[in-house]
């Protein structure tokens, strides 16, 4: 099991008049090399939940397991540092964390903090630059000369350079154009498939959930209100809309056809799944035009 939450609760400013419970009694499990998408309305507790994965916020109650690590309210800060390396965290608009003079130094910053030598970290930085699809010649330039999309790639390279086994992504494609979005999602899919990274993705893009995720967690007001495969979670479009969540276009479309009387074996979630089911029942080729 890569990730297991057991009755996890998190309260901000506990014990003050401003106390606010952001995550309440959440339990779920993600298998090794899994791909979990977390969806929910803005303010549903998604961001707090993922920041518990590397113990930026320790649970107020409950236990979190991430591979061989265990975090409880009593865990000491010193014990957390190896966990921070194990779980790579890509925040929303991660380009805002860049600060070094050169791109190479910025990417090498994380590995060096975790004890890697300067030379090794620099070599790794150059390698990561190409992994995220930027030319190695960028390494000596200032990160602040880049376009917004390129800066984001550098920031992601800086997280990947820590060689994490779990990669947490908080709306990684926000603000990118569709081309950049697609390239970014394909990068994460490649890391997941080829290097076996466990991915946790927070997103509002239901098309991405349908296409990439293996499990979906639905959060609402700090509680986990649904957990399952994308097919399970999207099976009830009315329930999703009632929770102010989008439905993938293919599922919407299939639902429209269902209302007219067509039945589906399983509700298709992507254009490809829909096309497969249509092709399977398509009248024999040419027959309808004879």
């Amino acid at each position: 099991m890569a990730i297991a939450f057991e009755h996890v609760t998190y309260t901000y400013q506990a014990g003050t008049p401003m106390a606010h419970t952001a995550v309440e009694d959440v339990s779920f499990q993600v298998p090794d090399h899994g791909y979990l998408a977390i969806i929910g309305h803005t303010g549903s507790g998604k961001s707090t939940l993922i920041q518990q994965l590397n113990a930026l916020y320790k649970p107020s109650a409950g236990t979190i397991h991430v591979d061989d690590f265990t975090v409880t309210p009593e865990t000491t800060n010193a014990a957390l540092k190896p966990l921070r390396q194990h779980v790579g965290m890509v925040f929303q608009f991660p380009e805002s964390q860049l600060f070094e003079e050169t791109i190479r130094q910025d990417i090498a910053f994380g590995p060096k903090n975790f004890g890697m030598s300067e030379a090794d970290a620099n070599a790794l930085a150059d390698e990561m630059l190409t992994t995220v699809g930027l030319d190695a010649s960028y390494a000596d330039r200032s990160p602040f000369e880049l376009s917004g999309g390129q800066m984001r790639r550098v920031a992601i390279a800086g997280v990947l350079a820590m060689k994490p086994q779990v990669l947490v992504l908080d709306e990684p494609t926000a603000g990118l154009d569709p081309q950049g979005r697609q390239a970014m999602m394909e990068l994460f899919e490649r890391l997941h498939r080829e290097q076996g990274l466990t991915i946790v993705l927070v997103t509002h893009q239901m098309e991405d959930v349908a296409q990439y995720a293996e499990q979906v967690a639905v959060m609402r007001e700090g509680k986990l209100i649904k957990f399952g495969t994308p097919t399970d979670v999207f099976a009830d479009p009315d329930w999703l809309r009632a929770n102010q969540l989008d439905v993938p276009r293919a599922a919407q479309f299939a639902q429209q056809l269902r209302q007219r009387g067509l039945t589906w074996d399983t509700l298709p979630l992507t254009a490809d799944q829909l096309a497969d089911q249509i092709a399977a029942r398509w009248p024999a080729k040419g027959a309808d035009h004879v």
Partner: protein, 266 residues
């Protein structure tokens, strides 16, 4: 840190909260002068009565208030101890060693300083707890208006102050976010020696400044697009109106002030 209330605003609905910020600012100013003019026990009793009365009227619990200013107590105690140890000789000397000298005069003086400090901190904390930062800014701008005659750019200063206050929470959020992002990259904030701690601030401060500059640039573009040319030629949406309760408060305080002046040792 979260218990530290100096400079914070506590939204409640009380007479003190509803007072005109100009009234509160001017009263606080006069009050501070009076604190320094008071010089005998009776005058301090009146001051304490005014202070405690004001806090009670603000509906802020006295316990919360005292706990909140406790962190500042150390600063006061430090000053008082200095006063106690190094004040000039006078009256009966209790203790003398090298240049350290504790005298009757010193003890009484230190006692007064302690009370003065405490009263000023309590009153100014009450001012910020019961007045939104924006109202303080508006009140200050309004009170500074006469300075226009001296060609002080009062309106521009007021605009700058208002924007600065508006962006404090935004930048605080941003700082938390960047701090978490760097902690996730293995930075330990607030650990190790002084040099290490100072160095750990660079990955926080550089992005924060970059962000602030970008925001400033966006904001100036947006302000220009919305027709902002300069601060002098604008009308005002937010205005302050002097109410009856402001006059009543002033009268009550003036009576207190007069009593202090009457009973102080001239």
């Amino acid at each position: 840190m979260s218990k530290f209330i100096f400079g914070r605003y506590l939204p409640l609905n009380s007479v003190v909260h509803r007072l005109d910020p100009r009234a509160k600012l001017m009263l606080s100013f006069c009050y501070i002068i009076l604190v320094f003019l008071a010089n005998n026990p009776l005058s301090y009793v009146i001051l304490i009565a005014l202070t405690v009365g004001s806090i009670l009227a603000s509906k802020i619990s006295l316990g919360f208030f005292l706990r909140g200013i406790r962190p500042l107590l150390w600063l006061i105690v430090f000053t008082v101890v200095l006063q106690l140890l190094f004040s000039p000789v006078g009256g009966h000397t209790y203790f003398h060693w090298a240049f350290i000298n504790i005298s009757q005069f010193g003890v009484i003086n230190a006692g007064y300083i302690f009370i003065r400090f405490l009263l000023i901190i309590m009153m100014s904390t009450l001012l910020t707890l019961s007045t939104q930062p924006l109202d303080i800014a508006t009140g200050l701008a309004s009170l500074m208006k006469p300075l226009r005659w001296l060609h002080v750019p009062v309106d521009t200063l007021a605009m700058m102050l208002s924007i600065a206050l508006r962006f404090v929470p935004t930048l605080m959020d941003e700082a938390t976010k960047i701090m978490n992002a760097q902690r996730a990259r293995g930075v330990d904030f607030g650990e190790g020696g002084l040099f290490k701690q100072a160095k750990a601030l660079i990955p926080l401060l550089v992005p924060l400044f970059m962000s602030a500059f970008n925001r400033a640039e966006d904001l100036s573009t947006a302000m220009e697009a919305r027709g902002y040319q300069d601060s002098e030629h604008r009308s005002q949406y937010r205005i302050l109106t002097w109410q009856k309760r402001d006059t009543v408060t002033w009268i009550l305080f003036l009576i207190g002030f007069a009593a202090i002046l009457a009973c102080r040792r001239w």
